[in-house]
Symmetry: C2
Subunit: 594 residues, 2 copies
């Protein structure tokens, strides 16, 4: 691998010399700026050998640097040759800081503006100016990458109204109203989930995210230009999406953007790549920075989407229950499997459901101390970890179903966890319950909820270094904003129909990791007071391991929540289970008492 | 009054005509942009008759509009003639919106950039451009105002090290380090509290805020130019402040600013008036937007300041205790006083302390339904309200002492409050206790704490429409940031030594109002966990009225907090009390049981 990487670096350096450039910046992102990247766009992997889901590299004439965040500091040393790259922290010393610290003034740094957000380009330009020159290029990697995978043709799935709940025509009308309100003529849609939601289509162009790779322009009358090879579309596509859709080949994108030269064009600088903004500005369009017009519409699920989310969570809960029952039995038999076997077994239970299209992300199957790494992936390890007795096993997983997306974490007692493990587990559970039971006025932001999940850990000097909850799409991104529950100052009110995860945790390095995650639906709550209230309704249907709870730490109220939740889980899963799995569930959900 | 206002408006209209201008904007603020304004700068009051502490007016050739916030919607109708002004909501339709909605395009609007922050001017310019023209003027009011009060000469008080705890030289060195870190040559200091803190001086130029009206420039070596008439300085001023202080007459300000033409000058655009920024830009200085360099230094009180804050809170608590004892006795005797009598009586108890220099704000003395208005001031009413039996009386007050600033709210049972009043009081108390008991990691922001105070009200559909806590200065502003506890996304970590109020409330329009306010000191907390923790230490020493509590709603833990707090209050006030006041305090602080 080192030889391969060395020769690739060499080819980039040749390109630098030929083009009189000092450095090339290669991020993990592709032009869609999403979390997941199709194989043919894994340019950072090709260049460095790094398989992580976030990172960047800079190749200079004589040096090179690799940037990864805290999740990948060990992994990077195993995958990226240290004789070729220095390692840097992506957050503490991002590429821009490294450039100003390490490169001589006057250096020319090449970037492909497709692979960066418009916001990034703006702030980077101002940070580097006037000492460094940013040179806009088409990435040279696509030419240097000899065996670059050919993208498979998109497989466009037309999502029936029975699952989407609203026609594309209606969605486009609603989204175009946002444009009218902001007095813009059209909006560039570059988020894959936005385009697919708007057209009620899904695809399998990327693993884990069921979308079609495409771009679109939405006009203020509700018409839409879709940039996608027309050859891949099913014959009933136009009937499905309704009137007003023009399908254009991606090679018509530039000329179409040019035709917007006198228009006010809305563009979301956080999610759109900078190339679009530059292109529009060059043609003389009036580019208006504004949120993607589908953002809030898509986030608040409609009644059909909610029904689907509830239904798939019951089926997902059946798979989880079957897995947890199997796991308990195996442990009882002394079969202490490794993380890969467990992950595969869980997947096989999910796959029994014919509506499962994919997992919603790579399963985190983490035994013992491995669970202390929040984003652990056994596939990045030389060998997967093995269960040991008297420990905790953490499994964070989910499915992409035709009617919804799931995401669940359970932390399971393997034998008898220590008192300390149970203590920390119970602190996390108390935080989870506090969010699950929260009632709050309309207009409340996620950052106002976050502390409820942390307060019990905080009181004893603990915390977790991640958000409490992320938004979740409907048969779309498992991480889909704009809503969130975190310390970050995200100015988005929670509204009815939004789905968020509720996943406090605790991580003790090299010892154990705990996370308890349900998805929560935002619903209207009854209020006898002055204000309209919202609350959460848990969607996830799977027992929380009572064997890991120190019951004396729960208040009566918390205990009642747990028993009530378990009763719901039992009642809703029971009809589809029988025999020893049902017996196991009954025991797992029976009331916990002091 | 209407006649007077009419003739004043007429004189402004004459000025508009002579200067070919369409409208003049007159805000409440003066050039110091603070909360309190000296009498000679009460331009809005002169023009409109409005005595409120926030607002603005626009006078056009034929029309005029008066802008006030929710606190003053009733008051404005009583003070500002409706035949001369239309009333508008300061927040919902601020002057800029009114201009774009009501004035013809091309209108010329005059503003004095001294009376607006640099941030305000920047956003207003961009909102009005290109349809309206902002014309920068020196306010014509100072010439039109015939009997404008002559400012009395500043009375500069040299604060001894025994109360400030740090010499001006040391403070200036620390603040200049902030300038060095941001590579600026100097900082313009326009906040009165910043200059006075830095020089360890106080004054009485404004009611309620013990400062001297002045400006300053701090240089990166720690030297400082003070713009203040040298004639008012005590003879030992230079000995007091140490070396490096140049005192310049205010009429030397413009020439001094001009001399900064080649410098990098830090200016806080949130707290500095726009005139300074324009002036500096005109001279060719490189104006760097940055926080006032004293902000975080001033907010974290030193050991001496903390000692003073604790000491003056005990003395303030003695005054409050004497007042509350007197009040109970009067009620028992059937003497149901009015709000003015109560406010004056409380003031007289505070004035027994020779170190009291002023109140820290106008006392809110609010009986019955008046307390539902958070910023009620009986002096703005035709007649003050009267206590009635079986109600709640709210009193929010504080003092400026030589060793610190206090701010306390107590809500007192008059007779037997209704069950509903007690229920709401207890919800507010639970929120207060939740903040008072909070333990949180270093780095936590105030907006992460806010929800703890609201959660119990929220759960039943209630809330309060103000922040939970504001920062408090040391013998300075009673509202002094940057720290706060509120829903607003203020990105300032709480650090040791900061003082904040903890004042959740509940307001039922026309019926009753509840607020329970202590000041809290941020202190390091013991942690057996992974993280360093902070917590609050209550500074206020005054009983919370047990007669208004529905004890069954408190958890054991909350009850223990209350009894523990009361024990502290009793023990610390006892040595200075005797006779029936001490007996009253003993009863008021005795343990509450179920």
């Amino acid at each position: 691998m080192t030889m391969t990487v060395a020769s690739r670096i060499e080819s980039v350096r040749e390109w630098l010399a030929n083009n009189d450039i000092d450095a090339l910046l290669v991020p993990h992102e592709d032009e869609f700026l999403g979390e997941y990247v199709p194989a043919h766009n894994e340019r950072l992997l090709w260049l460095t050998g790094f398989t992580g889901s976030a990172g960047a590299a800079i190749v200079c004439r004589d040096t090179a640097a690799m940037f990864v965040d805290g999740r990948y500091t060990v992994q990077v040393t195993k995958q990226v040759p240290s004789e070729l790259f220095e390692y840097r922290h992506l957050i503490d010393e991002p590429p821009v800081s490294w450039i100003t610290n390490s490169l001589p003034k006057g250096s020319k740094i090449a970037i492909d503006p497709r692979m960066h957000s418009a916001n990034w380009l703006e702030s980077t330009t101002s940070l580097l100016s006037p000492d460094f020159q940013l040179v806009m290029i088409d990435t040279p990697i696509d030419n240097l990458w000899e065996d670059r995978p050919v993208p498979k043709p998109s497989d466009v799935y037309l999502m029936p109204l029975e699952h989407s709940g609203q026609s594309s025509t209606d969605k486009r009308l609603a989204a175009s109203q946002v444009l009218t309100n902001t007095r813009t003529d059209c909006a560039l849609l570059t988020s894959l989930d936005s385009v697919c939601w708007l057209l009620n289509i899904r695809g399998s162009d990327i693993a884990r995210l069921p979308v079609v790779l495409c771009h679109a322009i939405l006009y203020s009358e509700g018409n839409l230009d879709l940039f996608l090879d027309p050859a891949v579309l099913p014959s009933d596509f136009h009937k499905h999406v309704g009137e007003g859709i023009k399908v254009l080949h991606p090679n018509e994108l530039i000329s179409t953007l040019s035709s917007l030269n006198s228009k006010r064009v809305a563009l979301d600088p956080a999610t759109s790549n900078a190339w679009f903004k530059l292109q529009l500005q060059n043609t003389g369009a009036d580019v208006v920075n504004s949120n993607d017009p589908t953002l809030m519409l898509k986030a608040a699920k409609n009644a059909t989407e909610i029904k689907g989310m509830k239904a798939c969570h019951i089926r997902d809960g059946l798979a989880m229950t079957s897995f947890l029952h199997w796991l308990d039995k195996e442990i009882e038999l002394g079969h202490l499997h490794n993380e890969a076997v467990l992950s595969d077994k869980l997947k096989s239970f999910r796959q029994r459901d014919p509506s499962l299209r994919d997992l919603s992300f790579d399963t985190i199957s983490a035994a013992g101390g491995n669970a202390a790494m929040c984003h652990y992936n056994h596939e990045n390890e030389p060998t997967p970890g093995q269960l040991t007795m008297n420990s905790l096993y953490l499994v964070d997983s989910g499915g992409q179903y035709l009617d919804g997306t799931t995401d669940i974490t359970r932390t399971v007692a393997v034998g008898n966890p220590t008192d300390e493990m149970k203590h920390q587990f119970t602190l996390v559970l108390k935080g989870h319950i506090s969010v699950a039971q929260a009632r709050f006025p309309k207009g409340t932001r996620g950052y106002q909820i976050d502390t409820l999940a942390r307060q019990f850990l905080w009181a004893e000097g603990f915390d977790y270094d991640h958000g409490t909850g992320h938004g979740v799409g409907h048969f779309l991104n498992v991480h889909e904003g704009p809503q969130s529950i975190s310390k970050r100052q995200i100015d988005v009110p929670l509204v009815e129909g939004m789905v968020l995860s509720n996943e406090p945790g605790y991580y003790r390095a090299n010892a154990f990791g705990i996370r308890i995650e349900n998805l929560e639906l935002v619903v209207e709550a009854k209020s006898q007071g002055d204000l309209s209230l919202l609350s959460f309704e848990s969607l996830t249907r799977c027992p929380i391991d009572k064997r890991a709870i120190e019951v004396g730490m729960l208040t009566d109220n918390e205990l009642a929540w747990l028993n009530d939740y378990h009763e719901k889980v039992y009642n809703e899963l029971k009809p589809s289970l029988e025999g020893e799995v049902l017996d196991w569930l009954q025991k797992a959900t029976s009331p916990l008492n002091r």
